[in-house]
């Protein structure tokens, strides 16, 4: 009898737990539901199943919190309008991927060049930034210096590194070879989202969720060996 009671009580607890978990799960989904997750993986899925995939500029723009509208952005035109709400960590310099990668279509690998030949995709050095900004956009048409370019020049003049806030961090027990993915033609956006629309970068995908990796690997029929990444 006592035993039955315990069992019943346990069942209730478990049931309640399940309900709560379900609720929180649903919430989690709707919270992330500004479509970032689905759309990013949709991009990858749409890219189909076998062989190397060539990235094409996504036809459909993202919208929602954190995304700029770059559909009408033209080089030398006005900058894309900032979204109503910026997401992601505040950076020491308000570097806008929506201007550089979106409006001006600078290829990702121009700055993150090591992604093509190394495990890590590098964050560009101040030298890389100043290579262009020595001449570009020092000041607006009224001659007023842009505060963030001024900051950049400050870092350059003092030969200091910029302490960028980290957006993506893959767990230390996993090793991600960027160069294999870039060389296989996997678009950067597959994992990093539509960075070209981001005024401030935020973690679009949870790259530490192994399912996110294996979904893609299974669809493409590439390795599912644990020691491909874990060692």
């Amino acid at each position: 009898m006592t035993r039955n009671r315990v069992t019943i009580a346990g069942g209730i607890v478990l049931g309640l737990g399940a309900i709560l978990a379900g609720v929180s799960l649903a919430r989690g989904q709707s919270a992330a539901g500004d479509t970032s997750k689905q759309t990013a993986s949709d991009t990858a899925h749409a890219a189909d199943t076998t062989g190397p995939v060539r990235w094409t500029f996504p036809g459909t723009a993202m919208s929602g919190a954190g995304y700029s509208d770059i559909s009408h952005a033209r080089p030398n035109g006005p900058w894309p309008t900032l979204p109503g709400r910026l997401k992601g960590p505040v950076q020491p310099i308000f570097y806008r991927h929506d201007i550089h990668a979106g409006q001006y279509k600078i290829p990702c690998l121009y700055c993150h060049n090591n992604a093509a030949n190394s495990w890590t995709a590098n964050i560009p050095s101040v030298q890389t930034c100043i290579g262009c900004h020595l001449v570009i956009s020092a000041a607006d048409t009224a001659g007023k210096p842009y505060p963030d370019i001024a900051k950049l020049r400050g870092y350059n003049d003092s030969a200091q590194s910029i302490p960028w806030a980290r957006v993506y961090k893959i767990s230390e027990h996993a090793h991600f070879p960027h160069m294999r993915h870039v060389n296989a033609g996997v678009p950067c956006q597959t994992c990093h989202g539509n960075v070209q629309q981001l005024a401030r970068v935020f973690p679009v995908n949870d790259v530490n969720n192994m399912g996110f990796c294996t979904d893609c690997h299974m669809k493409r029929g590439v390795t599912r060996d644990c020691t491909a990444c874990h060692f």
């Binding site: 030949n117 890590t120 030298q127």
Partner: protein, 989 residues
């Protein structure tokens, strides 16, 4: 600061990335990229620098693997003629010297016992002023004491003492081989050390030389020895060890002869006499020797040494028949009062056997030519004690540790200003008034010339970690401040000196690690000066019933300089298998007589009244009248890993010299008494016998026929065969279980036990490559050591006499195709990869330890503590040691099982690299850390699916001695061992 910019390494970035790669919890908040992109660094891809190892005077070439500006691993430089791509454990552990958490970080001044930081300018001004005053006070009031040095930068330091009107310029090494140099002067007219060609020798006769451990150039010796002393088309060399203690080197010996201590030189002369008798033709040199050798007939010497006359004659016959042969000795431990006589006898042996110019050749110059003797140090100390030395500078030597007794501290205290140029606060530095810390060799510039024709460059692989300054620069600056000039015009730094010396060849030398040419050996003529030596048995101090003390050089710690490196403390001594402690090796019968057992603390009392208290290790490899104590531990200072571990046998010695001026290491009979008390030995030795398990196998060379394995018969018993048959039925008759189809590779390894000497270089490489934590003595006592590869050592035969063999075997994960660990893992953390590895997925492991319990090879290691977390009590990488960690390998956390996976990160790196380049992965493009460094070349790694791969070739070529360990368990290991072939001995296993 400007000169440090050459590497273009942004230190901040290095530190940032370092923090990112270790310590699981502390996720950094920031990415800190380079301010300006260094040309030679791609984050995530290693950059290699060619340099030269300065851990001992041998001068091996190294390639330093750096990631984001910090060295993480050292491998041998394949272009370098000394070590040909291989490196010993000590060389690899140089990293831990660089990152020692107890390094001196800035110039310091001592007041009483307290050290206070001062600026470089203050320090240099103070020393320069004192130097100037000393020089004006008179001649010989300045002393410069360094370790062995060679090359143009070292030569300039001679000008330093000259500039200050002093002759006190001494290069001191605790192991300086004075007897051999003096004997070479007496017999050949040149006080130098020759090159010994172990690779060409068909017979090696060693009189106590630990030539595979510390002796002169151990890595070079081992490369040659392993090639000659393993079965090959030209037969197989024989190695006979004549010494009172069988150490790691003599484990490879086919025969061990243990003469009475102090009679080794007589045995050598008796063998030479016997050889000379057999030389029928009139050879000039041999004829000249006949008269000298006549008194040493085998019967007389047999009575003195206890070695049977027929053994002496047999060895002589064999030695003379195998041409060219090679006699070497003495080793440092066996330097008796007759050490020079022994070295002379060894030379005579080589002369009568006709080995001079074949296996023994003299280069025009050697690093040893300028190394002083122990007597030179004693003379300098006498001058110091007399108060005639005002300023003493010490660099690269620690005589306060290695000088016998307390004589050094007393005399050194009389010097007015004592300056240490050491990077570490060792015993000598702590006696000094000022420390002007030197760069580590991996932060320095230099040109090292271990012998004529080999000019190895030393270049920095990292920007200086601390506010140190290279001692060459300091000496130049000191001279300049005192108004002297010692360097060529325009040269103020070592870097400028290297550039000036190399000239237009600088870039090539930096890329190749130096400039190497072949030079002709010096011709040798026999001199007769040796005849005035007295060839009588060496005498010993102390009571006649005492045990003869052997202070043995440590293959890991060398003369004690390795003690600040945790790897070298934790890699077991190859002979005793003990870590972190000092032990006294005592023969089982002697131990029984004295009532001693393993771990008993004994009081060892020298004739001079000094005592130390090591623990007993009962060991059949010493004579009954000998006690052997390893050198290297017992430091009072020298950082947290060295201080207060073990005891120092130098305390037991008196500063006696032999006729060459060498310290007599083997000088005393000591009394060994039970002190009461016992502490467990931090040993990794399980059983010293194989109990018929056939783990490491020996084959007498007579039994080794092309069809040896068939003749040996089936290894399995009837019930074992039946059991395996039943299992295979249940597994669906998949004989090839665990073996996947092409195009997957199947990674396999062969380990040739005929080549393996048990040196432990592979163990050090594994530590460096795989972020293996050191756990300390208390954890080793609990068998919680973490080393993924270990050298097991078993005795074979009756160890009561000397006719026994040692079977050694490197044991690592066997990568079984039918692995017992895999099916018992409840979470699939242990699983089989498509390329034939037993994968171990750390993040999946929940720590049930079922796998380790089910592993018959005991090669899985469990993290009982959080060794990788900086806030945990057992943190294994304090201070800058964390910078050594390999970012490609996960640092494991508490509760996780770990093990060897054939360096899967190296495999994946090579595969990714090949794919990105669009090329196929060729055989040899990827190898494991252990196989890469093995000086013997015993380990071969490769893809067994590739017909022509080296691993397949090696298995096929030696199929007659190939076996797998525990075949009866049907694990189908990926590692094939090749039995060790011996010239004598049993096949008991």
């Amino acid at each position: 600061m400007k000169r440090r910019k050459f590497l273009q390494v942004a230190g901040v970035a290095g530190a940032g990335v370092a923090a990112a790669s270790c310590g699981p919890q502390d996720v950094p908040d920031h990415w800190v990229p380079y301010a300006s992109t260094p040309e030679d660094i791609t984050p995530g891809i290693p950059t290699w620098y060619a340099s030269t190892c300065k851990e001992c005077p041998a001068g091996c070439g190294i390639l330093v693997k750096t990631r984001e500006g910090r060295p993480i691993k050292i491998e041998g430089n394949p272009r370098h003629p000394v070590n040909r791509g291989k490196l010993c454990a000590r060389g690899q552990a140089a990293l831990q010297g660089l990152y020692d958490p107890d390094r001196v970080t800035q110039p310091m001044k001592r007041t009483g016992t307290a050290w206070a930081a001062i600026t470089w300018d203050q320090a240099e001004t103070e020393v320069a002023t004192a130097l100037g005053a000393a020089a004006s006070a008179g001649a010989d009031r300045v002393a410069l004491l360094t370790g062995a040095g060679s090359g143009p930068l070292d030569r300039i330091t001679d000008a330093f003492t000259t500039a200050f009107k002093s002759k006190h310029r001494l290069r001191y090494e605790a192991f300086a081989y004075e007897p051999i140099r003096e004997a070479n002067r007496l017999t050949f007219g040149m006080a130098s050390l020759p090159n010994y060609d172990f690779g060409a020798a068909k017979y090696v006769l060693s009189f106590g030389a630990d030539f595979l451990e510390t002796w002169i150039s151990p890595t070079s010796n081992q490369i040659g020895f392993a090639a000659a002393h393993s079965p090959h088309a030209g037969g197989m060399a024989k190695y006979v060890a004549v010494e009172t203690r069988r150490g790691n080197t003599a484990y490879s010996a086919d025969e061990w002869i243990a003469p009475k201590p102090g009679t080794e030189h007589l045995v050598a002369l008796a063998i030479a006499n016997s050889v000379a008798k057999g030389v029928k033709n009139h050879v000039g040199d041999v004829d000249a020797l006949r008269g000298f050798l006549a008194p040493f007939d085998s019967h007389t010497v047999s009575g003195q040494s206890g070695v049977p006359a027929e053994v002496i004659d047999r060895i002589a016959t064999e030695f003379a028949a195998a041409s060219p042969s090679l006699a070497v000795g003495p080793g440092v431990a066996h330097q008796t009062a007759s050490a020079t006589q022994l070295a002379v006898a060894v030379n005579i042996l080589n002369v009568v056997a006709g080995n001079i110019g074949k296996t023994v050749s003299f280069p025009a110059a050697s690093v040893w030519d300028h190394v002083g003797s122990f007597k030179d140090l004693s003379d300098l100390l006498a001058a110091m004690g007399a108060g005639t030395v005002d300023v003493a500078l010490v660099h690269g030597a620690n005589p306060a540790y290695s000088y016998p007794g307390t004589g050094f501290a007393e005399a050194f205290a009389k010097v007015k200003l004592k300056v240490s140029l050491s990077s570490y606060l060792d015993e000598t530095a702590s006696l000094c008034d000022l420390i002007l810390p030197d760069h580590h060799a991996l932060e320095s510039w230099d040109i090292v010339e271990p012998m004529t024709g080999v000019s190895g460059t030393v270049q920095p692989a990292i920007r200086p970690i601390h506010s140190s300054k290279q001692s060459f620069d300091v000496l130049v600056a000191l001279a300049q401040k005192a108004g002297k000039s010692i360097a060529p015009a325009g040269v103020t730094t070592a870097r400028e000196m290297v550039a000036k010396t190399a000239g237009a060849g600088l870039a090539a030398q930096l890329q190749h690690g130096g400039a190497f040419t072949t030079t002709a050996a010096r011709p040798v003529r026999l001199a007769r000066d040796y005849s005035k030596l007295a060839f009588t048995p060496a005498s010993f101090t102390g009571a006649a019933d005492g045990l003869v003390l052997l202070a043995t050089p440590s293959p890991m710690l060398y003369d004690g300089r390795g003690a600040n490196k945790p790897w070298l403390n934790e890699i077991p001594d190859p002979a005793a298998k003990i870590t972190w402690q000092t032990w006294a090796e005592i023969h089982p019968e002697t131990a029984a007589r004295l009532g001693l057992a393993n771990g008993d603390i004994v009081k060892v009392t020298a004739p001079n009244g000094q005592t130390i208290r090591p623990a007993v290790y009962v060991y059949p490899g010493v004579r009954r009248d000998v006690v052997a104590i390893p050198i290297g531990r017992g430091h009072k200072q020298y950082g947290r890993f060295a201080a207060n571990h073990g005891s120092n046998p130098f305390h037991l010695l008196a500063p006696l010299t032999d006729s060459s001026g060498a310290l007599v290491y083997c000088q005393a009979r000591v009394s060994v008494t039970r002190e009461g008390g016992n502490y467990p030995l931090a040993t990794t030795e399980g059983s010293s016998r194989q109990m018929g398990r056939g783990i490491s196998r020996l084959v007498p060379i007579g039994e080794l026929t092309p069809s040896h394995s068939e003749e040996r018969g089936e290894d399995l018993t009837e019930p074992e065969r039946n059991a395996i048959g039943a299992v295979e039925l249940s597994q669906g008759k998949r004989r090839d279980i665990g073996v996947y189809e092409q195009p997957h590779a199947k990674w396999e390894m062969t380990i040739d036990l005929s080549k393996c000497t048990g040196c432990g270089a592979c163990v050090a490489a594994c530590h460096a490559e795989n972020n293996i934590p050191t756990v300390g003595p208390e954890q080793v006592i609990r068998s919680r050591e973490m080393s993924w590869i270990r050298i097991e050592r078993y005795f074979e035969g009756d160890t009561s006499g000397t006719d026994w063999q040692v079977a050694q075997i490197p044991m690592l994960c066997q990568q079984c195709s039918n692995a017992p660990c895999e099916p018992v893992c409840p979470v699939y953390a242990a699983y089989h990869t498509p390329d034939g590895l037993n994968g171990q997925i750390y993040n999946r492991c929940v720590g049930t330890r079922y796998c380790a319990n089910n592993c018959p090879y005991k090669v899985r290691y469990f993290n009982f503590w959080d060794y990788g977390s900086s806030i945990a009590p057992m943190y294994a990488f304090p201070g800058p040691l964390v910078l050594q960690l390999n970012p490609d390998v996960t640092v494991r956390t508490k509760g996780v099982m770990e093990k060897c996976t054939f360096c899967v990160q190296r495999i994946r790196f090579a595969q990714n690299d090949a794919r990105v380049r669009g090329i196929d992965l060729t055989d040899g493009a990827v190898t494991t850390a252990c196989a890469q460094t093995c000086p013997s070349g015993a380990i071969v790694f490769g893809n067994a699916h590739e017909t022509g791969s080296a691993v397949n070739k090696s298995k096929r070529a030696d199929a007659n001695r190939a076996y797998t360990v525990f075949e009866q368990l049907n694990t189908k290991p990926g590692i094939t061992y090749l039995s060790r072939v011996v010239h004598a001995g049993t096949r008991e296993a």
